[in-house]
Symmetry: C2
Subunit: 394 residues, 2 copies
């Protein structure tokens, strides 16, 4: 008698973004004359940059010619891309990595969720609240005990470790999704020291690192001394280069991490060679182009475009005196809505035709807050904020 | 104190194909003047067909233009591709599926390994011996109890259920990797009836279905009555269309499968929406082209090319009187080597400069057997078989 994984039934019935998407779809179907401005899901809108498209086209053509055709590649990614990522880390944070500490995959979401495979289910998982739902859901699917660390107005939604915090694996996300808050170097150093002292691992989600403009803020946890001994870093080209539909991410597993005498790097290699067959050659060539001079220049111009939207959002909130975090070094603005999050979602959708994401969808500490994203056009962002200001003035 | 998944250490240290690849690399480095003909790993050699390349290039170009750019797609795949797969099933086996029973991913290996997520670890897993190592390794990583069903000369390496066979989930692979043997419709009907009678699930790996020329043999398990109630089917474009480096596969989870009152289809949807972000839009457009008239014509011409190689292999083995299975409806030929499999691997590599795969790498019943693949060129296959014939004549 086949037995299913009962842990699935502890999960909420549908994934947050499926629920908001359904609500928007239903509203739009009922009100076809009132176009909704979407500032909910963190999806980019700018097309891929010319050098990336050129690389994708070239690789596609290569696949049609016997001499340049590629079959199975290394599961952990092509050397050309892993080397480009090594160079990128040097540039952004003077971080030195080895190419075989980098694992290329189809995106940070897959890697973050699949990395749970390497650990026993009796680990206690420490998860910030609010945060990106995948950390929680992927561990709930394994029936693991979860401990929450609370983000709130007082700590600027950047929870810190404290005496008596018990746990084995800690998820950190900076710049944070959904709050846009960014840990300082000093704060991350406290986390790294705490993890080492308590034999904990840190899973550091750096998917939004490219949005950090403030040079004093760390873009990689490896900018912090000691992190190579206790931290795995997940990153993605989704937000750096608009790869949400093209699909490419990477995970850094330093060779310094040993647990019970075992190399975590080798364990992940074993997991990936067994359960994954590598990312498309074509996509990896596109990703390589992201890290070229032209790629970086153009991708960062797109990021600048989104950050101008973030400024439009924060400026409007300042005008109506609404409390928020994020926006400065992040595509997200996290605002205090002054009511139940889903109620505010419905109000914005129905009265202003603007879709955001209810804060409570990211955890109970998100209740009363709301996330807006900077990935729409300038025009739509300006229009949306005019409408939102009216709501707050009511 | 973080605790690792101890089950990883019950696994053999390296994955089969990493070991053979290393041995070949070392031989080639020591003997640069003696080029090795590779008939080991199941990797295609023919480039992608023109209509697929055209679709990949077109999709790449679309990604560079705001109006046609695509961000996040549905995790389960674009409707255009799922509909094309529905049509393909009608064509190949008169099988009727609904589009939301099909889940597109980056390959069958990922899906087969990840599908284990949905089940409790106290299920007993039934695995043919010999077989593709991913079934075993992905379940060993979860510490599950494994029961083997033995393939041998007597049953033509097509093990059948028997009174007293205990287990909950059964993996079947037809055309089989590594043996090339194909279950008949009658044999699969026995498996389906047995699964339903014993509340078992069948995981059917159809990755090589496109190689089946014999119209009496089933290409999908859904050609067998009752399979919709008990079978999940995994398939891939790797061998059908040369996508080993392009990466696309699909999994069929019929809505008729309910376990403990839960829909398996909905569970997989929950798993994929939480732990996966969809396959690259560009790759999905390439995959769509595979199922067009031109795509099917050209892909099947490539398959015919490989099958001519299989005929070259089996003809040579017939000449020297070596027992084998496969080759007729499969790219694999499984031969009885008359000695230890790794010994034969070394002998072929050193004395004939031909690389194959040791049968024992696929399970203990593979000991004494050896796998050759039909994915090389005609010229190389002819040359390799001349050399192999000499070895057998010694």
């Amino acid at each position: 008698m086949v037995k299913i994984n009962q842990n699935y039934f502890a999960l909420k019935e549908s994934y947050l973004f499926s629920t908001t998407a359904r609500k928007i779809r239903e509203y739009q179907a009922a009100n076809p004359d009132k176009p909704v401005i979407k500032m909910g899901i963190g999806d980019v809108t700018k097309p891929l940059t010319p050098s990336v498209v050129k690389a994708l086209e070239k690789a596609s053509a290569e696949m049609g010619v016997a001499e340049t055709f590629r079959g199975y590649g290394d599961e952990q990614g092509y050397a050309f891309l892993r080397n480009a990522i090594v160079d990128y880390y040097k540039k952004i944070g003077n971080v030195t990595l080895e190419a075989d500490e980098i694992f290329v995959a189809d995106g940070a979401k897959s890697d973050i969720a699949n990395f749970t495979d390497l650990f026993s289910n009796d680990n206690v998982i420490v998860i910030p609240d609010p945060v990106y739902p995948v950390y929680l859901d992927s561990n709930m699917m394994l029936g693991r005990k979860i401990v929450y660390i609370e983000g709130n107005e007082e700590n600027g939604f950047l929870p810190m470790p404290y005496e008596g915090l018990e746990g084995d694996i800690v998820y950190l996300c900076s710049p944070n999704n959904p709050t846009g808050a960014v840990y300082t170097r000093e704060q991350l150093k406290v986390w790294v020291d705490f993890a080492i002292a308590n034999n904990m691992l840190l899973f550091f989600d750096a998917a939004y690192e490219a949005f950090i403009a403030d040079k004093t803020l760390p873009r990689s946890i490896y900018e912090v001394e000691g992190a190579r001994k206790c931290a795995v870093e997940f990153c993605s080209l989704s937000k750096t280069a608009g790869f949400t539909g093209t699909r490419c991410g990477y995970t850094v597993v330093p060779k310094d991490i040993e647990i019970e005498g075992r190399s975590l790097n080798k364990m992940w290699l074993r997991r990936q060679t067994t359960k994954f067959n590598g990312t498309s050659y074509i996509v990896q060539r596109g990703a390589e182009a992201v890290f070229g001079d032209e790629g970086i220049r153009d991708c960062y111009a797109n990021i600048e475009y989104y950050k101008e939207n973030a400024r439009i959002i924060t400026k409007a909130l300042d005008e109506v005196g609404v409390w928020y975090t994020g926006g400065l070094n992040s595509p997200y603005v996290w605002l205090k809505c002054g009511m139940d999050s889903w109620e505010f979602f419905d109000l914005l959708l129905n009265d202003a035709q603007v879709a955001g994401t209810p804060g409570s969808g990211f955890g109970k500490c998100g209740e009363g807050y709301f996330r807006l994203t900077a990935f729409n056009t300038h025009e739509n962002t300006i229009e949306a904020m005019e409408r939102i200001k009216k709501i707050f003035k009511k």
